[in-house]
């Protein structure tokens, strides 16, 4: 399936692009992360420490154990610093 993957803040900078379409059979966020890490060094670097990252599925905060069934948009970013 094709999933839109978005990156924000320093995750975007390390990976070097704000969004991409990923063809994947991953069934969970963790599996998708493993696939991305295996791709290239810049992905491995961005995803070195998962505990420093947050993930949103279809624009709702979620977690790395969550499944991807029916999900069309996955976003990875550091902890938010609004306000």
């Amino acid at each position: 399936m094709a999933i839109t993957v978005l990156y924000f803040a320093w995750v975007r900078e390390r990976i070097g692009l704000p969004r991409e379409t990923v063809e994947t059979e991953a069934t969970s966020v963790a599996e998708l992360v493993a696939e991305l890490r295996a791709r290239e060094e810049r992905y491995a670097v961005a995803f070195t420490d998962i505990s420093a990252l947050r993930v949103a599925l279809d624009q709702e905060l979620s977690d790395f154990d969550a499944g991807l069934e029916g999900v069309r948009e996955v976003a990875f970013f550091p902890p938010m610093t609004g306000g």
């Binding site: 978005l6 803040a9 624009q59 905060l61 609004g82």
Partner: protein
């Protein structure tokens, strides 16, 4: 409930006045305003706020709805900017209207605590040395434990 996410500056005095005047059936109005600190001798030249357009409005609405359900509130206003800001610029404001002051204060603090750590904004500070992403603080995550 009014949630505004915009790049342009907002007029705090006019927004505060309009919010308060629009809720004269409420006895207590609280506002909070966040400012890019303008400190003499500070190296900060500007701040850039990145956000997640598709998610930001929804996330803020969710936080505001939760506040409306937890406290006895008449209304909630949230305005948050993104993009380029300079020292002294206002970043955001929240306002709450309630029959009693305890609800108005608590709801405003709740909105701020959640907005800090659960709304998709990321701050980057620029000095003459370049940009530095603002790190989230443990105390901001801990603050959510109050609610």
């Amino acid at each position: 409930m009014r949630i505004v996410v915009q790049e342009a500056p907002f007029d705090f005095g006019a927004e505060a006045q309009a919010f308060a005047s629009g809720h004269t059936d409420m006895g207590a109005i609280v506002t909070f305003t966040g400012v890019v600190r303008d400190i003499a001798g500070d190296r900060l030249e500007r701040m850039v706020i990145e956000h997640y357009p598709g998610m930001t409005q929804k996330a803020l609405e969710g936080i505001a709805e939760e506040a409306l359900s937890r406290w006895n509130l008449g209304d909630v206003l949230v305005i948050h900017r993104y993009g380029d800001l300079r020292p002294g610029d206002m970043i955001m404001m929240v306002a709450t209207a309630a029959p009693h002051r305890k609800d108005a204060f608590e709801a405003a603090e709740y909105l701020m605590d959640y907005l800090k750590s659960r709304a998709p904004f990321w701050k980057q500070e620029f000095t003459s040395d370049g940009g530095q992403w603002v790190a989230s603080k443990d105390e901001d995550e801990d603050a959510l434990g109050r609610w």
